[in-house]
């Protein structure tokens, strides 16, 4: 029974990690129908920014809480700047182009950012400081659920609820939905579509950076390639849940994480990816739009 609980907690944490990254994929896709392959790299850049700031602040002897807050904010702002820039230079000029062009541009951006960090930082793994302290009240159960697992789960839940509320109840959320439904009509009604898209990229990138910080602190190491591997799984999670849907990204991430955890725990970790992608294939056969995705007619 304890083993079962341990696997559930492990799977949920893994799923929450996927979900945090998947949210950015799904937001961008929901608005401009583009799969932003550079999103995994934004996550990696967030982790690196947090690493640099946190290491510097720790050396100067700042308290842990200050280090976490400053590093988190810096990572979010920095990654948001990257996300905004990527959109400006790689996607906006291709707004009217065929669907394939921005996709290729996104893949190019992904390669560019990876190699940029490789050259500017290092090819090696670097140790990431543990930013999440152990909680005393968790101590008796820490072999089942650790402090960083709890923080990751809570963050994902908070982010999902906040995002859903923002999109449903605020003005900018309304503008986002309008742009998603029909960007030409939204433009005619006086919505600055380009600004809405930029804001979407900024929010998605900041979330990815927070995810990067939490995951790096959880695993304890980063390198320039972490975004690619995490990005692929997160993309699968977004598609699984129905790309374009915020709760779908979280549900998809959780399902993927749990499947992998139980697959490893009860069958064999040799087939971890096989379980994950079999699940994806099965769901896409029966629900082509994903679990919570709306099957819409392709817009012209």
């Amino acid at each position: 029974m304890e083993y079962f609980l341990e696997l559930i907690c492990g799977g949920l944490t893994r799923g929450a990690i996927y979900a945090l990254i998947a949210l950015g994929y799904t937001m961008v896709y929901g608005i401009i129908g583009l799969i932003n392959f550079a999103h995994g790299e934004i996550y990696m850049i967030g982790a690196f920014t947090a690493f640099i700031i946190a290491t510097a602040l720790t050396i100067y002897g700042f308290p842990l809480a200050a280090v976490v807050i400053v590093a988190g904010l810096a990572a979010a702002v920095w990654a948001a700047a990257y996300g905004y820039t990527v959109e400006r230079i790689a996607y906006r000029p291709l707004r009217g182009a065929p669907r394939l062009s921005p996709l290729i541009s996104a893949i190019g951006m992904s390669f560019f950012l990876q190699n940029y960090v490789l050259l500017a930082q290092t090819a090696d793994f670097v140790p990431f400081p543990a930013l999440i302290p152990d909680f005393d009240f968790l101590e008796p159960y820490s072999h089942i659920i650790g402090a960083s697992d709890l923080v990751i789960l809570a963050t994902t839940a908070v982010v999902m609820v906040t995002l859903t509320c923002v999109i449903r109840y605020t003005t900018i959320g309304k503008a986002m939905r309008a742009t998603a439904q029909d960007s030409a009509m939204a433009l005619l009604l006086g919505i600055n579509v380009n600004r809405v898209i930029s804001i979407t990229f900024i929010i998605g990138s900041a979330l990815a950076a927070i995810g990067g910080l939490l995951v790096a602190s959880h695993i304890g190491q980063i390198n320039f390639y972490i975004g690619f591997l995490a990005g692929i799984k997160a993309f699968a999670a977004a598609v699984l849940g129905g790309i374009g849907s915020i709760p779908g990204a979280v549900l998809g991430g959780m399902l993927l994480g749990l499947t992998e955890s139980f697959g490893t725990g009860y069958i064999s970790s040799d087939y971890e990816d096989v379980f994950a992608f079999s699940l994806l294939v099965l769901i896409l056969i029966f629900k082509p739009a994903g679990l919570l995705g709306k099957a819409t007619v392709e817009k012209v």
């Binding site: 696997l7 907690c9 990690i17 697992d149 190491q221 971890e272």
Partner: protein, 372 residues
């Protein structure tokens, strides 16, 4: 007609061997990648053999005969290796130091075997080359791939008293190969059993499930085949999940990056790695000779090739310059030779005794050799 005579004369001149000169030297072939993308693995061996042969010749050679070096490039390609072998034999090589890559060595060996020529590789680590028993003419001055698994398993069972060992690998050629040997040796030992045999996905965001599974299997030791990034994540997760089992790994983990990344979680981890030769005077001398002769630092397998060449020269001295297979084989097996790798001889299969790996443990942020 006159032109024909000239042509004939030229033809004869080229086919003629200098028979008197040939009788006075012992020809040693050196085969390996001397060009192409793997040349960095082959050229240091060529340099090493040149240095040893020059030294031997300067001291009067073997039994009054000078040693002549014949170099042949195989670019680590099996199809080029067979050509290189045929060419070396036709040029009169009676001993060969090479080849460098396992695939090329395997392709060339049957040709040498038919000719009864002894072959010593400085670097071919494929286990079957010696373990299959097919090539009684083959020796090597490097430990085969399964040696690490054997030394790690011996250490886990006899050194740590482990009874229940979880074997984990990273699904790669190197890690999985190591893990499969480890599994076999654990099962063959009869003293311990394999609690778990599984591969993990490199680069995964979290290894908690596999660590929980290791815990569930009640393993008292974890044997990991792979490299340091996964190893550091797994030991970190083991610490977090309060799993006390000993962690034993291979030389993919015996790297300072592992200690740097895993930090205090690395403490107590065991990893096997090549024996430390930096304090061996012969090793220091060999590297100094390379710098003096080539004005650069020696590369991969330099010490191994140096050791192979010393073993060959020593065996030739023991047989008084005779190059027949039974005599040389006997000499290689019985003679102890001091080399940069330590004092070595060869066992019946052709593997070097005294070359190989030690177990290291992380203590206070350093790898410390564990004396057994």
């Amino acid at each position: 007609m006159r032109l024909f005579h000239y042509a004939l004369a030229a033809f004869l001149l080229l086919t003629a061997q200098p028979p008197l000169f040939a009788a006075d030297t012992i020809k040693i072939g050196v085969a390996g990648a001397h060009s192409g993308d793997l040349a960095s693995y082959g050229l240091p061996s060529l340099n090493a053999v040149k240095i040893v042969i020059d030294k031997t010749n300067a001291q009067g050679g073997v039994n009054g005969k000078q040693i002549e070096l014949l170099a042949e490039d195989d670019a680590c390609k099996p199809e080029m290796a067979t050509n290189a072998a045929t060419k070396l034999l036709s040029e009169g090589a009676r001993l060969v130091i090479g080849h460098v890559c396992s695939g090329a060595t395997k392709a060339a060996l049957p040709i040498y075997k038919n000719a009864g020529v002894v072959v010593i590789s400085p670097s071919a680590t494929s286990p079957e080359l010696t373990h299959s028993g097919e090539y009684p003419n083959f020796f090597r001055a490097i430990a085969p791939d399964d040696t690490q698994a054997r030394i790690d398993v011996d250490f886990a069972i006899n050194g740590l008293g482990a009874k229940n060992i979880a074997v984990i690998h990273d699904k790669g050629d190197y890690g999985k190969g190591f893990a499969e040997f480890a599994k076999k040796f654990i099962e063959d030992s009869g003293k311990a059993k394999v609690a778990l045999f599984e591969g993990v996905t490199p680069g995964a965001v979290d290894y908690s499930a596999i660590v929980q599974k290791i815990k569930q299997s009640r393993a008292d030791a974890v044997m990991f085949g792979g490299y340091h990034p996964e190893a550091s994540k797994i030991v970190g997760m083991m610490k977090r999940k309060k799993l006390q089992a000993a962690f034993i790994s291979d030389d993919g983990v015996k790297d300072m990056t592992f200690i740097k990344v895993a930090g205090k979680n690395a403490e107590g981890v065991y990893a096997s790695g090549p024996k430390d030769t930096t304090n061996n005077p012969l090793s220091i001398q060999a590297f100094a000779e390379h710098r003096a002769m080539y004005q650069s630092d020696a590369g991969a397998f330099y010490e191994n090739a140096y050791a192979a060449a010393l073993a060959v020269v020593n065996a030739l001295k023991a047989t008084n310059g005779a190059t027949d297979l039974p005599g040389l084989r006997q000499a290689l097996r019985t003679e102890q030779v001091d080399t940069p790798l330590g004092t070595i001889s060869f066992n019946a299969e052709g593997d070097a005794v005294g070359v190989g790996f030690s177990i290291f443990q992380v203590r206070n942020g350093q790898f410390v050799e564990v004396k057994q």
